[in-house]
């Protein structure tokens, strides 16, 4: 205490704190499982931990062991705040710890003889490839979730056709005049409708990617979108 430069923990509320304070903890877990389960399973499959079992089961076990504990996820918020660690990295690190624990436990129980932990740490190239696979899968999962949210938002606003036009033009590269008539509108109207849906799609991406951050280090969306695009193999 004699050093007088204490650090007062921040008290600002973030999306995570708000969700927990409002009794929507389940919503946080649901979001994490929905968006991150597949990328984490792909990560797991790309490492030597895959010998521990089905990656999907391992990820499910990881979620079951961690997400019930609100302090665990809140501790991510603090780490994000102090060190800028994103949710995806936090989950990947958490999964790594979990898999190490699991490997040690099984070794101790004599159920399986594995040197998976050592193998992983001895093979940085493999670890890097696993991270790349994770990043690509996460980019796809984020786009998938955004498609779902934007589609729902358009349908709720009575703009299902807007979303279809957006997908046909921007997703599948079809010119407006090739399908405008089938929607009973002209190409100029098509462009306006696609703009409306694109705004909803962008908003969905903003919502989803913002959850990578507890609040302080949120980058501008265009930077994030460029980064996501860079992770894809296209």
């Amino acid at each position: 205490m004699s050093d007088r430069r204490e650090h007062f923990p921040a008290t600002e509320r973030t999306w995570l704190h708000e969700a927990i304070a409002d009794g929507r903890r389940g919503e946080v877990s649901h979001f994490i499982m929905k968006v991150y389960a597949e990328p984490l399973a792909i990560y797991c499959a790309a490492t030597s931990f895959r010998s521990l079992g089905d990656p999907k089961d391992l990820v499910a076990g990881f979620f079951a062991s961690r997400l019930d504990d609100p302090a665990w996820i809140e501790s991510w918020a603090e780490t994000n705040e102090s060190q800028g660690i994103r949710l995806s990295r936090w989950l990947m690190n958490g999964l790594n710890f979990f898999l190490h624990e699991e490997a040690r436990r099984r070794q101790r129980d004599g159920r399986v003889s594995t040197d998976a932990a050592e193998a992983l740490s001895a093979a940085p190239d493999a670890a890097m490839r696993a991270e790349q696979a994770f990043d690509r899968s996460l980019a796809l999962a984020i786009v998938r979730e955004a498609i779902e949210r934007a589609s729902t938002a358009c349908a709720t606003a009575g703009q299902s056709a807007h979303f279809e036009i957006f997908m046909q033009h921007h997703g599948h590269g079809r010119p407006y005049d090739s399908f405008a008539a089938s929607h009973g509108v002209d190409p100029a109207q098509c462009a306006g409708m696609a703009r409306t849906a694109a705004a909803k799609f962008r908003k969905a991406l903003a919502e989803i990617t913002a959850r990578e951050y507890a609040g302080r280090h949120l980058p501008e969306l265009d930077e994030t979108l460029a980064e996501l695009a860079g992770r894809l193999g296209a």
Binding site: S82, L140, A198, L218
Partner: protein
Amino acid sequence: MSGSGETPASAPTPDDTLAARLLDAARAAEPGVGERLGAYELVAEIARGTHARVFRARQREPVERELAVKVLSASSPSTSVAARFARERALLARIAHPGVVPLLDAGESGERGVAWFAMPLVDGLPIDRWCSRNSAPRAIRLRLLEDAARAVAAAHALGVVHRDLKPSNILVSGGLADPRIHVIDFGVAKILGDERDAGGDGTRAGAVVGTPEFMSPEQADLDAARISPASDVFALGLVAYLLLGGSVPGVALGADSDARSRAPVGQRLRSAAEREIAPISQTSGDRSLRGEIEWILARACARDPASRYANAADLADDLARLREGRAIVAAPRDSGYEALHLLRRYRAGIAIAVAVVLGLVGIGFYRAEAEHRIAEAERARADAEQARREQLERVLEKARVQLEPLTGRRAGNIVDNQKALELAQTLHEVNLAALGELAVESQQSAFVLANAFDRLDRHEEALAVFQRLLELAEPEPDRERDRPFLRMNVGAMMTKIGPARAAEAVVVLERALGEYEALPTRNPTECGCLAYLGKALDDLGRHADARARFEQAIACEERFSRQGTITYAAQIGFLADHLRATGDFSAARGRYEQAIAVLPPRASPGTPEAAIEHRMIADRWRDAWTGEVAWMSVEAARAAGRAPSDEVQASFVEAVDRVSSYDASNDRLPRWIAARTAQERGVLPTRSGSEP
């Protein structure tokens, strides 16, 4: 989660090509709610125009606050529109007046360089709606018009004509007791003498600029060359017609603005250019408006710009004369008004003159003197009011200049504590002057201020601020989460002041702990409360109780899974300090080493900006704890009559030098320097030797 490891179902995952195309489409779309532009997160869209949108936005650092961010639409490809937007930003940066919403920050974001600027968020209503909602009496309406004219006058003084004054661009916040004017939207303003206004900036000759219903005849004629400050005066006059008489000349009563704006622009312009402005007492049927008010409005809305007030300052001055009971300049010259006004104003004096004639000299003199004093007092009051407003303007201007660094992304990294204190004081001064002590902004800035005092070891001043914040939070039922945190800070400051206030600190901190325990959701700041309590108990000599509290503090951090954070390291360091102070060097050394191991790497040129201040705090602790370990080794060697190892000596000397270089008042230093001096004076052998 509820114990289930099932993954929720979702739609099929897109392939890379489809995902990449959709991401491209998203990058081309408009920025919107949920995004960050510069340091601001867009929270909700509050206004939308043809070329720009305005969002309510949140800034998280260095202080959390809400403001407005105006964003140029990505679908506005015209360079002239972009130029006009840039000009609005430049204008707002120049106009410094409490009645003009100022520019706080500006930037361009994303690959396409989407232009935006940030302004304070005005929680106000359009002036006509505010008056209706508050049933504002005529005197208040006139005062608001005067304030609006003063704000516009600040722009005129810089050669800027607003060109779109109307109720929705003149907002009023506050209540009847303290209404405040905010003139907004300089998006189509004209700079007098600027050649770009003659063409090429999107407001060229022939372009429709402004809102026809509130346009002067010359503006409705699209005669850009004749636009002058008098055009704004005309618009203010029409706003006055609406506020005082209930309608705008030439605009059909009851016609809603949507219906009006759907009418062809040409037709709306023609109506504006050709309308006859009848006296307000006729348009409203209110004969009480005849005389001075009617003359002022007639002057403001004269068809010929040369017959109007030359600018908004002249209009404001006449409204002030009306308010103060002085003769207005808008009165017809041949009306005998001045003579009548003098008679009315000095009728007591004239009566006295008669009294003098009648021989009532004594009483008459007394009354004349009294009237004179009242008039003097009125003038003094008006002067004082003007001086107060000017003082506020100066403070705001100073604040804007000084707070500029706070609006940038580097703001979180202020490491000059004295500078941070000056900024915090200015910010708080502005908030108090503008919003009062109870406003959330003022309480937030008070908190920042208290922390700034604390960092400079000005604990008494920090304590006073925290105590006031706690007083404000005490009666508020919805602030049960804030109270223990503020109380902890009060206790912490008492602890830092020293043993003299330790007993008081123990009482405060124990109460805070009780409040933490009663919260429905536990809060990790309670761990800090335990540590401060430990320190206060140590100061009272209750070392066993203190040790228990320090250990609870560490367990508390672990309960919140904060191992690996520097706060956790600090808690271990506090226990180590306690152990060292109570003579248990062996345990203390182990704890210091444990604490050092938890800290992140030392700050380096590669450290991300956002983490620099955090790392610097960690580095200071590292220096202190490394020094303590070395000091204990030196002391142990001295006690055994041996010299410490070269490594220990070097580590100790480095720690003393490091800490001395940035914290001359650190209370570890006297102890360390005494040990070093003893060593240098030969109390210890100087040859190398092994550590005990």
